[in-house]
Structure formats: structure tokens, C-alpha cells
């Protein structure tokens, strides 16, 4: 493991968990905890820091319009929201994203062996956003498409 980040052995971290958490949460210092001579390791970090790191993983959203029906498609996760307006399609897509994110992180070993593994940063960003802010996140992702940056993301996925 890189010596650039603070490292602790598992037993040491366990006995000083309060100090470890203080460093991670209050001092914003990521900590690597390892065991079995470094064969297994985990990274402890504030959720809001991870959420910020993932902020470039914006969903690219497109719309198909029928008479009184709006279908909203989110790339690259391949989910759709259905409604009679863009507003209600966003609401339906929110339910889909929550359902998929929950299932994805409940079955990580299954999805890690599939092509869906690449959805993880988009789903983690969504999952690390407070439920009350998830709709605003989706709207912000739509509005972000107004800049050329979204075309770069869409073409990359």
C-alpha cells in the first residue's frame, strides 16, 4: 500500500477507533487500515469527501416524447423514468435509481463480475447524496448538459 496515506494495522485501529474516526471525520485525513501483512486493506474516508470525488460522474439524460408521455433515459446506467411530463418522469427515474443502487450495493460480488460493475461510481455518487437532495442532483445533471462537458461524458460512456 502507498505510504502517502496514513496507515494503521487492524488491531491498532480497532483499539484506537475513536481516534481513527476523529482523524478521518474532523481532520479529513483518509486512513488505510490493513491486516494479514497488507494483503487486505480498507480505506476510511468521510462520505461527503467521496461524494465530492465522484462529482464528475454525472448522469447523461435524454428524452423520448410521445403524446402525453415522456420517457427519460439515464446513461450510462441504462435506467428509464416514465411519466406524462418531464417532471413526473424524473420522479419515476428517482425510484429506479434508488432501487438499482440499493440492489447493487446489496449484491456487490454479483455485479462486480458483470459489465454493470462500471455503473458503480454513478450509483455511489447517487447513494451518497441525501435522499432529500437526490432529485436536485438529477435536475443538476440535466442542467449540466447545457455545457459542452456533458457531451464529453456522454461520449465516454
Amino acid at each position: 500500500m502507498s505510504a502517502l496515506l496514513p496507515e494503521r494495522q487492524f488491531s491498532e485501529a480497532k483499539s484506537a477507533l475513536s481516534d481513527v474516526m476523529d482523524e478521518v471525520v474532523h481532520e479529513r485525513r483518509p486512513q488505510v487500515v490493513q491486516r494479514h501483512h497488507g494483503k487486505e486493506a480498507m480505506l476510511l474516508v468521510r462520505p461527503d469527501d467521496v461524494r465530492r470525488w465522484l462529482d464528475t460522474f454525472r448522469l447523461a439524460l435524454r428524452v423520448v416524447l410521445d403524446e402525453n408521455e415522456v420517457t427519460l433515459v439515464a446513461d450510462p446506467v441504462g435506467l428509464s423514468g416514465y411519466g406524462d411530463s418531464l417532471d413526473t418522469a424524473v420522479d419515476d427515474l428517482l425510484i429506479e435509481l434508488r432501487t438499482y443502487a440499493q440492489r447493487f450495493f446489496e449484491r456487490p460480488q454479483f455485479y462486480a463480475q458483470t459489465q454493470a460493475a462500471r455503473h458503480e461510481p454513478w450509483l455511489a455518487r447517487f447513494a451518497l447524496t441525501h435522499p432529500d437532495a437526490q432529485r436536485d442532483l438529477l435536475i443538476a445533471d440535466i442542467e449540466a448538459g447545457m455545457s459542452t462537458g456533458d457531451h464529453a461524458v456522454a461520449s465516454a460512456v
Binding site: V64, N68, Q102, Q115, A116
Partner: protein, 136 residues
């Protein structure tokens, strides 16, 4: 000659998923289906509405192309034969699509989905650019 098919409903999506051996996942009020392909791709689809509700053609096209990964012909064939689809299959042409930001942006000027639908995606985007330009 183009074959004629019935108007699709959500019940047809359920029937297809059963025929194509998808796993049903009930996690919310929605009905979800999931299928792992031999390629490692995971397909997902869902139903948010009553099973007898019809599906509009544009939405049906999105579901076929992007979620079920089948053509219309293969979709109806699977329901009829109750046999899974042998993928990959050649997919139908994509539906007319608009960037979501164009639809959202025009909505802020009182130009809602029905009016946007009458325009091409290029016309809709041009109109939004004109609205922005007229404000600056």
C-alpha cells in the same frame, strides 16, 4: 411486407420477460426484471403502471432497444413461442431523442413537451439558444 403486431401493453413486457427467462425482482410498488447475459451484460427493465395500460410507440422503442435488447420481431416471437431470444440481435432504429436539458430549458419558457415534440431535436435546441440569446 411489414408484419402487424398488437398495441403493446405492460402485460406484454411481463410476458416477454417470462418467456425470455428474466428474474422478477419485487422491491417497490414497481415490478422489476433483471437478466444476466452470457456476455456479462446485465439487462434491467421495470413496470410502473397497471399491466393493461398501453405503451406508447416511442417508449416501447426505448424499452426494446435499450433495456430488453431485442427487435420488435424478436419481442413478439418470444411471446408467441415462449422461447428465449438468442442474442445479440439486430436492433430497430432509435427513436427521435432530445437532450433532457433542451426539454427542461424550453419548459422554463412555457414551451412544454407537446410543443417540443412537434419540433426536431435540432429545432428545439436552436429555439432554446434563441431564447437565451434574446435574454442576454
Amino acid at each position: 411486407m411489414t408484419p402487424s403486431y398488437p398495441a403493446p401493453t405492460w402485460a406484454h413486457i411481463d410476458a416477454f420477460c417470462r418467456a425470455d427467462r428474466w428474474d422478477e425482482v419485487r422491491e417497490t410498488d414497481h415490478v422489476h426484471w433483471e437478466k444476466l447475459l452470457p456476455s456479462g451484460e446485465v439487462l434491467r427493465t421495470h413496470r410502473s403502471f397497471a399491466s393493461d395500460k398501453p405503451i406508447s410507440q416511442g417508449r416501447f422503442g426505448v424499452i426494446l432497444r435499450e433495456q430488453l435488447k431485442v427487435s420488435r420481431d424478436e419481442f413478439w416471437r418470444a411471446i408467441e413461442t415462449r422461447e428465449p431470444v438468442d442474442r445479440p440481435v439486430e436492433l430497430d432504429e432509435p427513436e427521435k431523442e432530445y437532450p433532457a436539458w433542451v426539454v427542461l430549458g424550453l419548459g422554463k419558457y412555457g414551451i412544454h413537451e407537446a410543443r417540443v415534440r412537434a419540433m426536431s431535436p435540432e429545432e428545439a435546441e436552436k429555439l432554446l439558444q434563441e431564447k437565451w440569446a434574446s435574454q442576454s
